[in-house]
Amino acid sequence: MPNLTMPKNEMPPGALVLLILRVLRSGPLHGYAIAQRIHALSADALRVEEGSLYPALQKILLKGWVTASWGVSETNRKVRFYKLTRDGMKQLEAELSDYDRQTKAIQAVLRTA
């Protein structure tokens, strides 16, 4: 069943994909680190729950925007690292410019209306 009411600090799935791709641009990260990074960069405003992070990651994997490989975490545990692919890079750029255009348009409306 799709959950219609969005919990606090959650975000729409599309935005989550954009954020994941963006934080992966600076280098491969594992799932927990992705969540942490988004949380920290948003000044604790955005919280990524595992219930939405892992489905999103699986979807991105299927799309071929990231690849996953097993590595060892800072705590010395086996963990999967996600790395942006060339396709993912293209997707990120496309989504960023889309996002820019949309926010500009929305702001324009908000300012003038």
């Binding site: 799932g31 969540a35 595992e50 992070l53 892992y54 699986q58 299927l62 545990r77 963990v79 999967r80």
Partner: protein
């Protein structure tokens, strides 16, 4: 695309992927717990959500539902078996119909590359011939580039040794066997080299003839046989699997180039005009890269070239339209006429629609039946469904689960496939079909059966599933619809069956409009013996005078189209924008008198009256509804218009089933003579004269052995065919009636079970049995009434299609309708009484305590 590959990769490595995901998420949880002290959630649920991204969860759910469905079936085997049986009948009927259609129409003959074979016929403005003169065929063969080979065939009945009955011989070109990929069962087959003029006369045996006459002995190769008194060497035997290009295979195959050897006076090889009915059927094999359109264009231009050499024999603007050649068709029968050639499809179409509708009706009855059963069962499962909803199953999930239980339909489709196969196989055996008809289901039939299973699942499974899942189990629209559909479909089947039975009764008892009981037909097939017009005239005159000399012969006449025979000449006539086929009878002046067809108005044809024509009453009524038909000019086939001199009563001599068949009778022309048969009427029992007639006919030309038969035998043969048709449809109707009755029993017993408490209360406060019955009946009254109405309307529609097959019966024949409806009401009412009686035995005390 790559995404799909990745998805499939995930599906194949599902277990490993799942483990990896679990491990990864475990790490996440540990970290989160350490850093944030978060409580652990339901990890299984979270993992399921992630897995959903792979897009394969439906498989898991499907397997789950299937497992559940099969468990359910095992626990109620009675229901499962009866459901599969009902479906097997319904789907089996449609599969059998489709498989026959597939086998005879869709599936090509077992030949080499049958799709590249084309049949060519002649077509000019205003006329067509199904045959092509052999010299023209040779011309096309020598000049074509779009066809890699040109094949020709013509047929004849040649006397074998000194036997009475002349078996069929097919004359073919030398390349015939090689082009079609035929194998020899013994010896060898013809080659193109055999067409050389120096070759000694030779024949190839058909497999059936070889088996029945020579005991399938290979020693027959090299033996000599006599056909029409001419010897020929048997060079080989065609394989059993070889179908040739027709729907049957002959006793002998011979070379067209040797036609004059066997058939005295044959000019088939040189006659360019085709006027002596000496054309051949022509096929071509498309060359590599050529299309049928290119071949047609090339042949049209070749015909134009040929016309410059033979302006009298090739028509202006002559074309040779092609049709697929690698399919069963009737060969050897020559049809010529004005206008475009009649399409086989056109004539078969109503038949297909009729059979198709009937089997679909059976399927509808089965599905309606099963749907009601499922619904009733669903009502019994109310508690289970309620429980599922209570623990959080969504409606969509429930519908999916219940619909999955219609996996029954797949089992039904499978058994339907078997039933269909068995039916077709039995039909092939019963009708003694050629051995190369292969009833094994091919991909088309399997696909069809699967689709039928799927559609019936939609019909009987989905609607009840939706209703059960929504927990509406009262007398809803769906239930009414399912019952109504059942009633309507069975009703249509019964009415149509009734109409056919009545039609049979009528055709058997009514007067066909011509004398058939004391008539003998003598068919010398002079064309096949190379007769031209003058020899034909001499033969016929001689034959007629000999026959007249026999004591007991009352009257003798000649016709190109003997009654109830295979030959018919049609012309098309446009009346008020619709094309009608008109039967043309080429006769002599005595025909109407001999056949006892009454002349209603005007005068009969007089000898030598080549510009007069007698029309049938049906034609007169249709063509000149407000005018006097006598004296009207009438253009039919001939270049010159004919004057209507008389009107004859309708006679169903060519189309026994069609009382409105439109006919014209005109005198035979000189060129028609070799194609004519002699018909004679006797004053006493005709059977006693058969021997005398045979002796008289044989004495004229020893090479000609006329076929002689009693018209009465043919008439009875036709009636048997009608009887079989009526019987088949009647059987379908009875099956539908039984299935529908079973359904009604189920429904009423369910209604009684559901209302036990209510009935108990009513009885306790003094209701009488008839009140109870009445209230039970009222539940179904309107639905059944609507179903009956819809059935009557449907039957009336279908009967329109049957119009021409109905042997002169009104499509609104009230007796058939009333009888069918009353039979249905009576039988189902009786069926309903069985469970209803249980309601009357309800003990109020027990009933009130029951749940």
């Amino acid at each position: 695309m790559r995404e799909l590959l990745r998805r499939i990769h995930y599906l194949l490595n599902r277990r490993r992927m799942d483990e990896e995901l679990a491990e990864e998420m475990e790490f996440h949880r540990e970290m989160a717990a350490k850093n944030e002290g978060k409580p652990l959630g339901d990890s299984l649920r979270l993992r399921e959500d992630s897995r959903e991204a792979w897009g394969w969860t439906w498989i898991d759910r499907l397997l789950q539902d299937l497992r559940f469905a099969f468990r359910g079936m095992r626990t109620s085997p009675g229901f499962t078996v009866s459901a599969v049986l009902v479906l097997a009948i319904g789907i089996g009927a449609t599969v059998a119909a489709f498989a026959s259609f597939n086998m005879t129409v869709l599936r090509p003959l077992p030949l080499t590359d049958p799709h590249r074979l084309l049949r060519f016929q002649r077509q000019g403005p205003g006329q067509f011939w199904s045959d092509v003169p052999y010299p023209a065929v040779s011309f096309y063969r020598d000049h074509t580039r779009t066809l890699s080979a040109v094949l020709a065939l013509t047929t004849a009945s040649l006397r074998y040794e000194d036997e009475e009955n002349a078996p069929r011989t097919y004359f073919v070109t030398g390349n015939f066997f090689a082009q079609l990929g035929a194998a020899a069962a013994a010896g060898r087959l013809f080659t193109e080299a055999d067409e050389a003029p120096v070759t000694a006369p030779m024949v190839v045996l058909g497999h059936g003839f070889w088996a029945s006459r020579f005991g399938a002995s290979p020693g027959v190769v090299g033996a000599r046989v006599r056909l029409n008194g001419k010897t020929a060497t048997v060079v080989g035997v065609a394989a059993r699997e070889f179908s040739g290009l027709g729907s049957d295979t002959p006793a002998f195959w011979a070379l067209i180039t040797q036609h004059p050897h066997f058939v005295h006076g044959s000019e088939i090889l040189s006659d360019f005009s085709g006027q002596k009915n000496s054309g051949v059927s022509m096929w071509g094999r498309l060359a590599e890269g050529a299309t049928p359109l290119a071949a047609e264009a090339e042949l049209a231009s070749l015909a134009a070239t040929l016309r410059q050499q033979r302006p009298d024999d090739v028509w202006e603007g002559e074309r040779l339209p092609s049709s697929p050649g690698g399919y069963p068709q009737s060969v050897g029968s020559v049809s010529r006429g004005s206008g475009p050639p009649p399409g086989v499809e056109e004539r078969l179409y109503p038949m297909f629609v009729l059979v198709g509708s009937l089997v679909l009706l059976i399927l509808a009855v089965s599905c309606g039946n099963l749907g009601s059963l499922l619904l009733a069962r669903g009502a019994a499962r109310q508690r289970e469904i309620g429980l599922r909803v209570a623990i959080g199953a969504s409606t969509a999930r429930l519908i999916r689960q219940l619909f999955t239980e219609s996996v029954l339909a797949l089992m039904g489709a499978l058994s339907g496939l078997l039933v269909g196969f068995a039916v077709v196989k039995a039909m092939l055996v019963l009708t003694e079909a050629p051995p190369w008809f292969d009833p094994t289901p091919d991909w088309r039939v399997v696909t069809f059966a699967t689709l039928m299973g799927f559609f019936s699942a939609m019909f009987f499974g989905l609607m009840p599933a939706v209703h059960i899942a929504r927990q509406r189990t009262r007398m809803t629209f769906t239930r009414r619809f399912l019952i109504g559909a059942q009633v309507a479909s069975s009703c249509v089947l019964l009415i149509v069956a009734g109409l056919l039975v009545r039609a049979f009764d009528r055709v058997a008892s009514s007067d066909p409009g011509f004398e058939y009981e004391q008539t003998i037909v003598v068919d010398p097939s002079l064309v096949e013996h190379g007769y031209d017009a003058s020899r034909g005239r001499a033969y016929l005159d001689d034959l007629e005078s000999r026959l007249r000399g026999i004591a007991g012969v009352a009257s003798v006449t000649r016709t190109s189209t003997p009654p109830l025979g295979g030959a018919r000449i049609t012309a098309s006539l446009e009346i008020e924008g619709r094309r009608h086929d008109i039967y043309v009878h080429q006769v002599d002046a005595g025909y109407l008198g001999t056949m006892k067809i009454p002349l209603l108005r005007g005068r009969n044809l007089a000898p030598g009256d080549e510009s007069g024509v007698v029309v049938s009453e049906s034609l007169a009524r249709k063509r000149w509804p407000h005018q006097d038909p006598l004296g009207q000019l009438f253009l039919i086939g001939d270049p010159k218009a004919l004057t209507v001199v008389g009107i004859a009563a309708n006679a169903r001599s060519l189309a026994l089933q069609d009382p409105d068949a439109m006919k014209v009778y005109r005198l035979a022309r000189e060129g028609d003579l070799p194609g004519m048969s002699v018909v004679l009427r006797t004053s006493g029992a005709p059977k006693t004269l058969l021997a005398a007639v045979g002796a008289a006919a044989k004495g004229i030309d020893p090479t000609v052995t006329p076929q002689i038969h009693l018209l009465k035998d043919r008439f009875e043969q036709r009636i048997r065919e009608v009887e079989q048709g009526a019987f088949a449809v009647g059987a379908l109707g009875i099956i539908a009636l039984i299935v529908a009755s079973l359904g009604i029993v189920g429904l009423v017993s369910y209604a009684v079970a559901q209302r036990t408490k209510e009935i108990g209360i009513r009885m306790a406060i003094g209701a009488e049995p008839r009140h109870i019955l009445k209230s039970l009946a009222s539940q179904f009254q309107s639905t059944v009434a609507f179903g009956l109405l819809a059935g009557v309307a449907g039957a009336a529609g279908l009967a329109q299609l049957l119009r021409r097959e109905l042997y002169g019966l009104s499509t609104f024949d009230p007796l058939s309708y009333i009888a069918a409806v009353s039979l249905f009401v009576f039988v189902t009412g009786l069926a309903a009484l069985i469970p209803a009686r249980r309601a009357l035995r309800v003990d109020p005390l027990v009933a009130l305590r029951c749940d």
